[in-house]
């Protein structure tokens, strides 16, 4: 297993509060990894740091041995990192199709062309159609994205995240805010994308069924630090982990 992302003593502080503290972590390529922990454990902050959304106060981040600690989010996407957001972050006034087309164009480095027509971008259009099919949204392709149902918006969100053909993709609570039916659909999609694409998925999740059924590796965080990491079976047996979840069925 090759390492894909590595952090060294990563730290992010808001005033006196440590959101993330002394996190030294290695994420392996191809291992579906879940990051779990109680609320406020620093999971989302960790994703934000790794995706470049915020910059760390301390520590370093490496992507395939190259340091990327202070690289901006748009540049990280160009090297193969991608993410989805817990709070829905799609392009509401653009159509569903355009929502997928844009990241594809970005990946193909076509966004600078001001005078060529969108329709003429055959390669991009074809790829966008394919991805739209992958996320089961072909029928809605001409709707303004803001008008989609909540569940469909989440599918679109995932589509945007994979449309840049990332090597590693962070999904921040993909099932949050979903009703039970939508949840199943979203998780089906995550499973499908994980098995069909050459992307390493790292998800932040609260739902333990999902975590334990999908993950190859689990990282447990608490109070901004990594408490434990390991294969699902090991984590299940880990006493410290059980303690912080205080008797929840895991």
């Amino acid at each position: 297993m090759k390492e894909i992302i590595r952090t060294e003593s990563l730290g992010k502080y808001f005033g006196e509060m440590a959101a993330v503290h002394e996190v030294t972590l290695t994420l392996q390529e191809g291992l579906f990894t879940s990051v779990i922990g109680p609320n406020g454990a620093g999971k989302t902050t960790l994703i934000n740091l790794l995706s470049g959304y915020i910059l760390p106060d301390r520590g370093r981040i490496y992507f395939r041995e190259k340091e990327i600690t202070r690289l901006g989010p748009d540049k990280r996407v160009k090297i193969g990192i991608s993410r989805s957001f817990q709070v829905m972050n799609i392009f509401p006034r653009m159509t569903v199709f355009q929502n997928i087309l844009l990241p594809v164009l970005s990946r193909l480095n076509k966004t600078s062309s001001a005078f060529s027509s969108l329709k003429g971008q055959k390669e991009a259009v074809g790829e966008a159609e394919k991805i739209l099919g992958e996320v089961w949204l072909q029928e809605e392709k001409d709707f303004p994205a803001g008008e989609l149902s909540h569940g469909d918006q989440r599918l679109l969100e995932l589509g945007i995240a994979v449309a840049t053909n990332p090597q590693i993709c962070f999904l921040d609570e993909p099932s949050s805010g979903m009703n039970p039916i939508e949840r199943i659909k979203v998780l089906e999609l995550v499973k499908k994308l994980a098995s069909e694409r050459k992307t390493t998925f790292i998800i932040v999740e609260h739902d333990m069924d999902i975590v334990f059924s999908l993950s190859d590796w689990i990282v447990v965080m608490n109070r901004g630090e990594v408490l434990a990491e390991g294969k699902p079976a090991e984590i299940r047996e880990n006493q410290e982990v059980r303690d912080i979840y205080l008797g929840e069925e895991i």
């Binding site: 996407v77 991608s82 972050n89 006034r93 087309l101 844009l102 076509k110 008008e147």
Partner: protein, 311 residues
């Protein structure tokens, strides 16, 4: 298909206008075309990129003064117009670099600031801009390419065709831009700058591009003014002048392609009507803006389109 026919009919009508209408109608139509160009640029920035600028009149003025000064020294229409546009573009690029890095709110206030700065320079720098007297005696220079042709611009109809040609070119280019990959990128930035960054788009770069293009359009509209009026005075840089493309676009429809153009026509119609009743034009402008913002944000074109349409 219907749209294309409508556009063709419109272009033909405009081309035939000098034959069927008098000088005054031509004069007003030229002004409508100038405001359309001005407003398209404004809307590229606002409706398509999400940046609200109250200082576009600054670039309009740079274009106008630039063209005027060139024509006073070297009376060749194309040189004057192109020169004005280029200078306006350069100034907008420079100011853009300073302003674009900020959040949208700051940006809007900054645009008001530099607009007033340009006004202040136009007003005080007597040596260069003529102060509050402005530039006078600007010739309606002939349209010429040395060695090929030289067309006299004194008849209003001739100049009308030049303006019409530039307007059609500007609208066509605008259409290409907003339907291009770059056009999609800036809309992405408008809808969610975070998401745009997280799919690899450099927010700063595209905002700057959009801002510069808006400046070029404002500069073009400004450059076409001096040959028409033969004078350029400081009010063209004032923030109340910046209000015109804002209102025209708001009136026509912010998130639409033709909104600025439709709005420009409506603007002049309204102005014509209002001015007959009162000299207090600004208060009417203000009331219209307030009414539009409070209750009619989609503008006139929203009547013709269901949610999400882009005509």
């Amino acid at each position: 298909m219907k749209t294309r026919v409508a556009i063709l009919v419109l272009v033909i009508l405009l081309a035939l206008l000098p034959a069927i209408a008098g000088k005054y109608a031509l004069y007003v139509t030229i002004h409508i075309l100038l405001l359309s160009i001005f407003s398209l640029g404004f809307n590229l920035l606002f409706g398509y990129t999400g940046l609200l600028s109250f200082g576009q009149a600054g670039f309009y003025a740079v274009g106008a003064y630039g063209c005027g000064k060139i024509l006073l020294a070297y009376p060749s229409l194309l040189v004057g117009i192109v020169g004005g546009v280029v200078i306006a573009g350069a100034v907008s690029l420079f100011l853009g670099i300073l302003c674009i890095r900020h959040t949208r709110m700051y940006f809007s206030m900054l645009t008001l600031s530099f607009g007033m700065m340009i006004f202040s320079v136009a007003w005080k720098w007597r040596d260069v801009t003529g102060g509050d007297d402005g530039l006078v005696g600007i010739p309606r220079a002939p349209l010429e390419i040395p060695g090929f042709f030289k067309i006299n611009m004194t008849p209003m109809e001739n100049y009308y065709y030049v303006v019409l040609a530039f307007a059609i070119l500007a609208i066509y280019l605008f259409h290409r831009i907003v339907h291009s990959p770059m056009g999609l990128a800036i809309q992405g930035i408008r809808d969610s700058e975070t998401r745009a960054a997280c799919i690899g788009i450099s927010v700063r770069k595209y905002r700057l591009l959009s801002f510069t293009i808006a400046g070029l359009y404002a500069g073009l509209a400004g450059s076409l003014l001096p040959p028409l009026e033969s004078t350029v005075t400081p009010p063209v840089a004032h923030w109340s002048y910046s209000a015109e493309p804002v209102l025209a676009t708001l009136l026509g429809g912010i998130y639409t392609f033709s909104g600025p153009i439709v709005g420009s026509v409506l603007f002049y119609l309204l102005k014509d009507i209002i001015v007959r009743f009162t000299e207090y034009w600004l208060i009417c402008l203000g009331i219209i803006v307030v009414v539009l913002v409070m209750g009619f944000r989609g503008g006139v074109m929203s009547i013709f389109l269901k949610e999400g349409g882009r005509r």
